[in-house]
Every structure is written in structure tokens, then in C-alpha cells.
Symmetry: C2
Subunit: 191 residues, 2 copies
């Protein structure tokens, strides 16, 4: 099984190390991990005139060639996961293939959004919260926006969250490994 | 043509008004606008045990039943667009149908991310920027994460950005209407 490794990990100073470590975890479970920056032979990407589109087309081709996707949903520069990662999760869900996600925090979306808004967050008489412009805060007691949690649930996948020390949240691969294990479990059970 | 109207508009205090206004714009161009909160007859959604999953399955069913999608990509609580909207954009792109996006700001992603990070953003000797933890800032001079701009470009769609007064950025539908016009143009030309 080829697993696309979606996440903001590509922005890390040690992205190469994390890519290798994630691939090692996958290999231990009999899977092939595919990192977004892995080279690819793809004529559409080669033909792109602009660098951003070349990278996009490579990532899209990688996803199409993978059997499953694991998304690093650790919140990234705001209350939600990295936008590129969320796009890729939606893309793979639409292809109908297995998806899983993990985050190195157990704090819920509504609480993180209130943290982010600070004093601008206001509670309404009915108990719901709004931001400084009156836009409501989503609160279903879930990890992130319901399209993320819902997409993984609809696909029958796992969303695994764990608390790790703040300074290790981009490096700790415990929850990632748990995702690999759940994706590979049916195959190993059948072997 | 049925157009799914993705965006954080669902969180607005006047979400119903905006939904009606967007549908009116679509109707003027001969299209049917479908708002995420529109009711739907869908057995999977009805059978969902949990409210977040019921909403997810309804939105997913709406997207599958639409011919195109317009995403409101105005930055939402951070440098990027609303996570649910980005998920839906990736989903529709994977279905291979037309997508378009708009934002009521012309400020680029890298500049918005630096605004967000403040003093934590640091410029490297090579000119690139990193955050306080050393994670790099994406900078291709684009509107948002390259998966968003790239997905729309790969689909041959339009990403229309305009500056409007800050307090009108959730209400102004000028850029939205421009998206409807570009989606409907080929059909009207052929009629």
C-alpha cells in the first residue's frame, strides 16, 4: 500500500529527516510512504510554466498514485490544520480511498478558536460563542472543522490525537505511527 | 448548472441573507446556487448518529450533486481560508468538475502570514522567511497555499481577488459575482 503523507512537515527545517522517519515507520508496517516533495515522473508537472503549479501538479499526481492518505492535522498558524493538508484530505476522500489523520494536541477546535480570538470571543446568552464580527464559533466537541473530522469518519478512518510537549509537536511521530497501524491492520489481519 | 457555494459564510450572523443574495446572483446568470445549509434528502445523512457527521454527509452529498463550486477564500481566523471551505475545494477538484474562488483582499499569502506571525517571523540570509520555530513561509506570490491556487489553476478556473473595505469583506459579493460570470460564460456563449 502506498500512503501519501500530507502535512505541514514540508515546511520544517528538518523536513528531510521527518520524511525519512515517516517512511521508516510505514516500512515497518509493510507500507510505502510517499512524501509530497518526492520526485515524480509526470508530464503535466514538467509542462507547468510556473513553479507553484508544477509543485501542485506533482502533489496531485502523488495523491492519485497512492492508495491511502495520512494527514498531519496538528494546528498550524491558527486554530485549524495547514490549508494545503486539508485540501489534500478532501481530495483523497473524494477519490473514495482510505484516509486517516493525527494531531499532537487533544485540545478541541472550539477551545483553540477561543484561545486564538482572546478577548474578541464573546459568549451569547444561548451559550454559543461568536467572534468580534459576530461570526459564530463551530463547537461539536471535535478536533477541527467538521468537514475534516466528518470526512475521516465518513471514510471509516481514524483521527488520532495525543498531547505531546509543545516543543515536540512537529517531531513526535507516535500518533502518526498509530495511524499507519490502523491503516495496515486489515491487510495484516488478512495476511 | 448547480453551483455549490463553499465558504465561512455559514458562520455569519446574517448567513441566511448572504445565502439568498448569492443565489440571486447565480439566478441572474442562469445558475442554481446551493448553500451548504440547504436541506437535502439524503439517507446517509439522516442515518448519522452524530450531528457533526450528519452535517458533513449533507455537505458532501450537496457537492456530489453540484456541477461546479465557488469557494469564498477570504482569509478566516488566520492567514489562510476557512478549513472546511478548503476541504470542499479539494473534494470538488478531485471530482474533476469546475471550481472557482474569490477573496475580498489582494494581499498575498506570504505577507498575510508575516502579519500573523509579527516579530516571530525572521528573514534568513537567503531572503526566505521562517517562523519562530524555524518552519518556512511559503512565498510564490500567490493568494494562499499553493494547493489552493494550484487546484483552481489546474481546473482552468478563476481565482478573483479584490480589495474591499475591511468591514465589508464578509458582505461584498462583487468578486463572487465575477466568479459566477466566469463559470457561466462558456454556457452563455454557446447558447
Amino acid at each position: 500500500m502506498r500512503i501519501y503523507l500530507a502535512g505541514p512537515d514540508v515546511f520544517l527545517p528538518n523536513a528531510g529527516e521527518i520524511a525519512a522517519a515517516k517512511k521508516d515507520v510505514c516500512a515497518r508496517y509493510g507500507a510505502i510512504g510517499v512524501f509530497p516533495t518526492d520526485p515524480i515522473a509526470d508530464s503535466a508537472a514538467d509542462a507547468a510554466q510556473e513553479r507553484f503549479l508544477e509543485i501542485y501538479l506533482r502533489n496531485e499526481a502523488h495523491i492519485r498514485q497512492c492508495d491511502a492518505l495520512i494527514a498531519n492535522l496538528t494546528p498550524f498558524r491558527g486554530p485549524s490544520a495547514d490549508a494545503g493538508t486539508v485540501y489534500e484530505l478532501g481530495f483523497m476522500r473524494a477519490l473514495g480511498r482510505p484516509v486517516a489523520g493525527y494531531a499532537n494536541t487533544t485540545r478541541h477546535f472550539a477551545a483553540r478558536t477561543r484561545d486564538f480570538l482572546g478577548a474578541a470571543a464573546q459568549q451569547r446568552p444561548d451559550g454559543g460563542w461568536v467572534d468580534g464580527e459576530g461570526l459564530s464559533l463551530e463547537d461539536f466537541g471535535r478536533h477541527d472543522n467538521l468537514m475534516i473530522d466528518g470526512g475521516i469518519a465518513a471514510a471509516g478512518g481514524s483521527l488520532i490525537t495525543r498531547d505531546v510537549p509543545e516543543h515536540l509537536r512537529w517531531q513526535d511521530l507516535g500518533a502518526f505511527e498509530a495511524c499507519v497501524a490502523t491503516l495496515m491492520q486489515p491487510l495484516r489481519g488478512a495476511a
